[in-house]
């Protein structure tokens, strides 16, 4: 089955003064119509670079060394400038991390929301205004008619993020890329924005790529999850498979680092060590220096993907035939119980 968006073997590096930073090293995944794929990983794991390359929004010093990004069978990386501009905003919309800086301070929000509609569709200003108004109401801007003429500084952070979402949605794109859309917001607003995104996705059946480093958010919103580390996807599967049956030690680390609400732990678990220097990534598994389950082969060869289920893959030598049997840490097992319980309660 071919999805709406298929990324294959994407490899991106940045040339900097010190050399080549290998930001994305052979990433492949698929996004189906209407589904939400969460990409999880710590800062510098290449998740933002990966999605920005879909929009061709990478900075000038970035180089796409190989790979393809197929949208409905058409390779976005082989498009010329004009074709790229047609995809941006019209077929793929983007939601940014920081709503405080993402809006033009000198343009009223009505114009900002309408802008891409007027650009891509043959539509009168009045029609566009009507559509923008409807959409602003949909994303929860009250008295939107009056507020269309207001400027960004007259809105709160949460409202601005709603406006940014409206901007991404105005052309009814097939895919929305949300790059940590809740990171810069405070917790109560975070929950509202997540609810809104879920709601909208259900209504408009848009596919969403959701970047985050918060697995709590993932449980809430995603259909599938890809875990990235050091420019590679290390584990990918359905949300239940990642939360309840994860196989990669890095995923275990991320799950353990999630603060739980009811546990009376004194301190929050952190993954020891730091991510590798991507100027010269290690030869074997990039995670082995921080991995207490590392095998000798991890230092020598990169692990391939091992199939856990038809929908679940993980790149760790622990899954190789003949590898030692490893049980995940106790808190992971306890955490899984918690997720199961929550899932049961939600039903």
């Amino acid at each position: 089955m071919s999805g709406l968006l298929t990324i294959e073997n994407l490899d991106i590096s940045f040339s900097v003064f010190a050399g080549e930073v290998k930001a994305v090293r052979g990433v492949s995944f698929r996004l189906d119509k209407g589904e939400t794929l969460a990409i999880v990983g710590e800062s510098g794991s290449g998740k933002s670079v990966t999605v920005k390359s879909i929009m061709r929004l990478l900075p000038n010093n970035a180089k796409i060394n190989s790979g393809s990004i197929l949208l409905d069978g058409e390779d976005l990386l082989r498009q010329n400038e004009r074709e790229t501009l047609k995809v941006r905003g019209q077929r793929i919309g983007m939601i940014f991390q920081d709503p405080m800086t993402a809006l033009d301070p000198t343009m009223n929000i009505g114009d900002q929301v309408m802008e891409s509609l007027l650009l891509h569709k043959r539509i009168s200003r009045r029609e566009a205004g009507k559509k923008a108004l409807e959409l602003l109401e949909l994303v929860g801007i009250t008295t939107a008619g009056k507020r269309m003429r207001h400027f960004p500084h007259q809105f709160s952070g949460g409202q601005r993020q709603r406006i940014v979402i409206a901007i991404a949605l105005i052309c009814s794109p097939e895919i929305i890329i949300a790059d940590e859309p809740t990171t810069a917001l405070d917790v109560t607003v975070q929950a509202q924005i997540l609810e809104l995104l879920k709601e909208i996705q259900k209504q408009l059946a848009t596919a969403v790529i959701f970047i985050t480093h918060d697995l709590g958010v993932v449980a809430n919103i995603a259909d599938r999850v890809a875990v990235m580390y050091a420019g590679k996807i290390v584990e990918i599967g359905k949300v239940d498979e990642i939360l309840l049956n994860s196989r990669h030690p890095y995923t275990w680390g991320l799950l353990s680092a999630m603060p739980s609400h009811n546990a009376d732990e004194k301190r929050i678990y952190t993954i020891p060590g730091t991510p590798p220097d991507m100027l010269c990534p290690p030869q074997g598994d990039a995670f082995y220096p921080r991995n207490k389950y590392a095998l000798k082969i991890d230092t020598l060869r990169m692990p391939p993907f091992f199939q856990v289920s038809p929908t679940h893959q993980a790149a760790t030598w622990l899954l190789a035939p003949g590898a030692p049997e490893v049980t995940p840490p106790a808190e992971i097992i306890a955490g899984r119980e918690l997720f199961r319980e929550r899932a049961r309660n939600a039903r």
Binding site: V87, R88, G89, A102, P105, T106
Partner: protein, 315 residues
């Protein structure tokens, strides 16, 4: 609206105070200049001098002269020029304001518009040869004094190519050379300024969002980049207007423009006190008003700086 009118009253008060300080300083400074208003003093007898001084009111002690000057000023009387006998200064200057204002306006308009365009191109083509050429133009424009420019332009376009007259006033085409001369500095300044500002603006988040909408580079630069880069340029408009005015003193002389600048230079050379005073007051008032307008312009370009008159917005 209450906030705004209070803001306005305070502004006007400060403007008047500034003007008074300028008048006072200038008055005492010009009277301490060496020399007298008389062209051939050595040929005058002491008795003749005394009569002339009494006629012009120069025989009284300086503080008294100052008070008399202010009394006349309050009635709108700028005094009588020494140089042109029996000509009131007001009448003398009114005929000369037109050309100066026209030139100044033309120069600042062409200068900033050209500068903004050059700066924008420069920022869009950052670190290419286009950028380098604009940088060189800007450096030349800033560092070459405008009287040198005036002479170069005269040589090229009047002497060699004979397109324009060397120094003449009367037709619009005659204003082109002086306008270009005067426009060089504002052009260079704003080009540098817009480039720096634009480079920074183009790296901001809202520009990336604009890119994600599918706008092309130039659409982004015009719709989102320019306006945001213009805000700091407005600050520069004030000082640029000042340098234009002072610059025009010499340039008007070179091109024989019958403007205030030419009159100013003549009046200083001949110690024509009432004329010097009147022109200083005129320049200062113009400058103060320009700065005030610049202040208002800010709010026009940047909605965040608008004095809203206390309008509260629901959060």
């Amino acid at each position: 609206m209450k906030n705004f009118s209070r803001h306005l009253i305070k502004k006007v008060g400060i403007m008047l105070l500034t003007l008074w300080l300028i008048i006072t300083c200038t008055f005492f400074l010009i009277h301490s200049l060496p020399g007298s208003p008389y062209v051939n003093q050595e040929k005058l007898t002491p008795a003749q001098l005394e009569i002339l001084n009494r006629q012009a009111g120069l025989d009284k002690p300086l503080p008294e002269q100052y008070l008399i000057y202010f009394k006349n000023l309050a009635r709108g009387d700028f005094g009588t020029s020494f140089q042109f006998k029996n000509q009131p200064v007001t009448k003398l200057l009114l005929n000369r304001v037109g050309p100066s204002v026209q030139l100044g306006f033309q120069a600042i308009l062409t200068g900033t518009v050209m500068g903004v365009i050059l700066g924008m191109i420069s920022a869009m083509r950052q670190n290419t040869w286009v950028d380098s050429i604009v940088t060189i133009i800007a450096i030349l424009g800033r560092s070459i004094p405008n009287f040198v420019f005036a002479v170069i332009l005269q040589y090229l376009f009047a002497v060699k190519l004979s397109i324009f007259p060397i120094a003449l006033w009367g037709k619009f085409s005659y204003t082109i050379l002086p306008t270009i001369t005067l426009a060089m500095a504002p052009m260079a300044n704003s080009a540098r300024f817009i480039r720096t500002e634009m480079v920074e603006v183009l790296n901001s988040d809202y520009i990336e969002l604009a890119r994600s909408k599918g706008l092309s580079h130039w659409q982004i630069a015009c719709r989102h980049g320019l306006r945001n880069s213009l805000i700091p340029l407005i600050t520069l408009l004030g000082p640029m207007a000042v340098s234009l005015m002072t610059g025009s003193l010499v340039v008007e002389n070179i091109y024989a423009v019958p403007g205030i600048g030419e009159q100013f230079v003549k009046s200083i050379i001949t110690n024509d006190y009432p004329t010097i005073m009147a022109i200083t007051i005129l320049y200062s008032a113009m400058l103060i008003i320009i700065l005030f307008v610049v202040d208002l312009l800010y709010g026009l370009v940047d909605p965040r700086i608008r004095v809203t008159g206390g309008e509260r917005l629901a959060a």
